[in-house]
């Protein structure tokens, strides 16, 4: 009874942010910044509370529960409802989303206060939180849906919010439209993935006649493997779009154009993990077709290594983190591809902690840089105010003394990400590596290389940003951020450090917890050798980074020491392997040329010509026909009379 009451709270997780965004939308102008931030954070916080209550309910009653809210679409045999699926998988996602989301909301109240002033548009403060709450709503819809269509609504909703928030400063960026272009790129690339998901959903409905998860999984067990393979591969296309995997990852680095809380929440912690969640949710389908699983695993592993190599050559503090995110998402996708769903979800949660932490801390660094730049800009010409890029790591250095809290939390996040025991990243990544070692040794080597690079580029970042001498006036003047920013950072840092406790080897609390929804997944046993190897690799990466960047102090604004030793390889990495250019040449240019051909020759030439020709033909024909309508009554009478004569003739000769 009590449980049912708790379960029936599920819709409130979505409705509370809806109220928050409506309140801000309608009354936001009068509430002021404090009120807006309070309402937005409170809405998300209450949603987190609901998630916690649902988790408590589930801990007593681990079976999946469906909470219907209202009828949605009833067409023929299709009967879709707004129904929320409360099981351990969705609640895990809800907890991660709302928990991290709440912290980022709090952080954003402080960060956006500065940011909107820095960008010169304080009025957009409300807009930001409306979008933010809308994102939470869409994300919760995505993870709590009981059917694929509702999931798709959330899927598209988060895509929309991503677009809106990437282009939040739509009039900024290169040539004044750089950010808008980045937003458009994210949207278009996501559409390609969404197209795959849509096809998958259509196929599901076409073949199984339903979109409810349970119904589909029950029916799919008896379906032809080829069909399931097609469906899962199309679904994978959707995953590569949303979770930034090869080959559709290109939008995520550009998405860093959004404000830093956006990068943290959407493009690191929650939205991009939707693909991983989708595969985990659809695991009954994937388990049926090993070929699909292998494809997923390969895509994930390749992405992990590929993105990691690029991250090594980046100077933008957020770009490094962005490629790191892609890489870590590759880890997760590889995990779920190998059937290690618990490992994937585990890494998803810990990654949410430390990557959000890293982004937010990077935001704190950026804010400090901006603050320092404003300080140092006194006396300079106003035109030069923005000549310095506050996100370029080459402008930083030695910040550990001036921004102590940020430094320590950043260090915690970086070590967690690098996989240093006993921080959370170590456990989750180790579990993936163990699964790979057991199932697919080739992937194990790829992932191990990625883990090495991860440690290396994180070390590189730490040394470039926080150690050495300040390489710009702004860095010298940088200031620590206010508590509203640092407190969430500390909380996240704590979580990053102890997050591994969620699924300690041997205890497998998360594994047992997820058995309620992923009962068929095997528990990955801890392999000591693999753990030691991964730890050694991570330490080696850090050491190498110290060798290159920490030992000799990096000169002011100099070229990267790595570039000297690696040469052309570094140029390739710095230019992201020219993937964007490749896409431009292979896909975009022919596409544009084809469009041009279709537009000018086919559409304007043939189709317009046909239509215009028809029109002018009709007009000239009408012009001839018009002569019949000469307005002379006697002509009309004669015409009628001719008809009479004809009818009489017919009657006569009949």
């Amino acid at each position: 009874m009590e449980n049912n009451l708790l379960f029936s709270l599920a819709p409130w997780a979505v409705l509370l942010p809806v109220f928050g965004l409506l309140l801000n939308l309608v009354f936001g102008k009068r509430l002021g910044e404090k009120g807006i931030g309070l309402i937005a954070s409170l809405a998300t916080g209450l949603a987190f509370l609901v998630s916690v209550l649902l988790a408590i309910a589930l801990s007593r009653h681990p079976e999946a529960t469906v909470v219907p809210l209202a009828d949605w679409i009833t067409v023929g045999q299709l009967n879709l409802a707004w129904a929320f699926r409360v099981d351990t998988l969705s609640v895990t996602m809800m907890l991660a989303v709302t928990g991290v989301g709440t912290l980022i909301h709090v952080y954003a109240t402080g960060y956006m206060h500065k940011d909107v002033r820095h960008q010169g548009d304080p009025g957009s403060y409300r807009r930001f939180f409306v979008y933010f709450n809308l994102f939470i709503v869409a994300m919760l819809l995505l993870v709590s849906a009981n059917n694929y269509l509702m999931l798709f609504v959330g899927w598209e909703g988060v895509g929309l919010c991503s677009y809106l928030l990437i282009g939040f400063w739509f009039n900024k960026g290169a040539e004044g439209i750089g950010n808008a272009r980045a937003a458009k790129k994210a949207f278009v690339v996501n559409r390609i993935g969404d197209f795959g998901l849509l096809i998958a959903i259509f196929l599901l409905f076409w073949n199984f006649g339903t979109l409810e998860f349970d119904g589909i999984f029950a029916a799919a067990a008896k379906a032809a493997p080829a069909l399931v393979l097609v469906i899962t591969l199309f679904m994978l296309l959707g995953v590569t779009g949303k979770s930034a995997q090869l080959p559709l990852y290109v939008w995520l680095p550009d998405a860093m154009a959004g404000p830093t809380p956006v990068s943290a929440l959407i493009h690191a912690a929650t939205m991009v993990t939707a693909g991983v969640y989708l595969i985990a949710r659809s695991s009954p389908l994937y388990i049926q077709v090993p070929a699909a699983q292998m494809t997923v695993a390969w895509v994930g592993a390749l992405t992990a290594l590929f993105a990691a190599t690029i991250a090594v050559g980046q100077y933008d503090i957020k770009k490094v983190l962005a490629y790191s995110t892609i890489s870590q998402l590759g880890f997760m996708v590889a995990a779920v591809g190998m059937g290690a769903y618990v490992a994937g979800m585990f890494h998803l949660v810990t990654h949410a902690f430390f990557k959000a932490l890293l982004f937010l801390a990077a935001g704190s660094v950026i804010m400090g840089m901006e603050h320092g730049e404003e300080q140092s800009a006194h006396g300079r010409a106003p035109g030069d105010a923005h000549s310095l890029d506050p996100q370029d790591m080459r402008n930083m250095g030695g910040l550990q003394g001036r921004m102590r809290t940020t430094f320590w939390v950043y260090l915690a996040g970086a070590l967690a990400l690098s996989g240093i025991a006993p921080l959370s990243g170590f456990f989750s990544k180790d579990e993936i590596l163990a699964a790979a070692f057991r199932n697919m040794p080739v992937l194990f080597i790829l992932l191990l290389a990625a883990a090495f690079l991860t440690a290396f580029y994180m070390g590189r970042q730490i040394f470039m940003v926080f150690f050495g001498k300040a390489r710009s006036a702004a860095a010298e003047q940088a200031h620590e951020s206010p508590p509203v920013i640092t407190v969430p950072l500390i909380i996240l840092a704590v979580l990053s450090v102890v997050g591994g406790a969620l699924n300690l080897p041997g205890v497998h609390s998360l594994g047992h917890w997820l058995e309620g929804s992923l009962a068929h997944t095997p528990t990955v046993e801890f392999i000591a050798g693999v753990a030691l190897l991964s730890l050694a690799v991570a330490l080696a990466g850090l050491f190498l980074a110290w060798m290159v960047y920490g030992q000799r102090r990096m000169p002011f604004k100099d070229t990267d020491p790595l570039a000297r030793s690696l040469g052309g390889l570094f140029t390739a990495v710095y230019n992201k392997w020219w993937v964007d250019e490749l896409y431009q040449a292979v896909i975009l240019r022919p596409y544009q040329q084809l469009s041009d051909l279709l537009a000018r020759t086919v559409d304007m030439g043939w189709i317009d010509g046909t239509v215009n020709g028809l029109g002018s033909a009709a007009r000239s024909f009408a012009g001839q026909l018009r002569r019949l309508e000469n307005g002379y009554v006697r002509s009309y009478a004669l015409t009628i009379f001719l008809g009479v004569v004809a009818i009489m003739a017919y009657l006569f000769f009949r």
Partner: protein, 184 residues
């Protein structure tokens, strides 16, 4: 009976000649007069056919009212003669040719489909009397009769509205109803 044939022949000739006269007269007044003659002779044919009531109504209504109205309008408008000229070239010939075709068709119909031996019986005296017509009119055809009356009223109102024209408009103008005045 020879005399009946004679009467029919004479009046039939008059009917045909007067119809053609109406068609061919250059002067509209002559046309109208020929038509009056036509109607009057047709009325005589009605008498032969045993329809005295219809015959006299024909004279009263057609000759006495309708054609008087026509004549009145012709004289009122001074529209006896039209200026010469035929704007629709070819129309005249087309009309004449097809008119002849039509006539030929009807005549052929008459020859091939008509029964020449079918003879009109001598109608009894009471056949078309006002009493008989009236009885039928008010018993069997009450509704059409009423409808006809309604049509007449509507036509009367319509005709009055049409022709009061100027006075009606000027009264409207003094009341300031017309939109044209407001536009000024």
């Amino acid at each position: 009976m020879l005399i009946t044939y004679l009467i029919f022949g004479v009046f039939g000739l008059v009917v045909a000649a007067s119809a053609l006269g109406m068609l061919l007269s250059r002067n509209a007044v002559y046309s109208a007069l020929f038509l009056v003659l036509n109607f009057a002779t047709v009325a005589v044919l009605y008498l032969i056919l045993g329809a005295p009531f219809i015959a006299l109504v024909q004279i009263t209504v057609y000759a006495g009212s309708i054609m008087v109205l026509f004549l009145f309008v012709i004289m009122l408008l001074g529209a006896e003669k039209m200026p010469p000229g035929e704007p629709l070239r070819g129309h005249r010939w087309l009309a004449i040719v097809f008119g002849l075709v039509f006539l030929a068709e009807l005549v052929l119909f008459l020859i091939y489909r008509g029964g020449m031996q079918a003879v009109v019986n001598a109608p009894s005296l009471e056949f078309g009397s006002p009493a008989a017509v009236g009885m039928m009119l008010f018993q069997k055809y009450t509704l059409p009769f009423e409808v006809t009356g309604f049509i007449l009223v509507v036509a009367t109102v319509g005709a009055i509205l049409f022709t009061r024209g100027e006075g009606f408009k000027s009264r409207k103008r003094t009341l300031g109803i017309t939109s044209g005045d407001k536009a000024e």
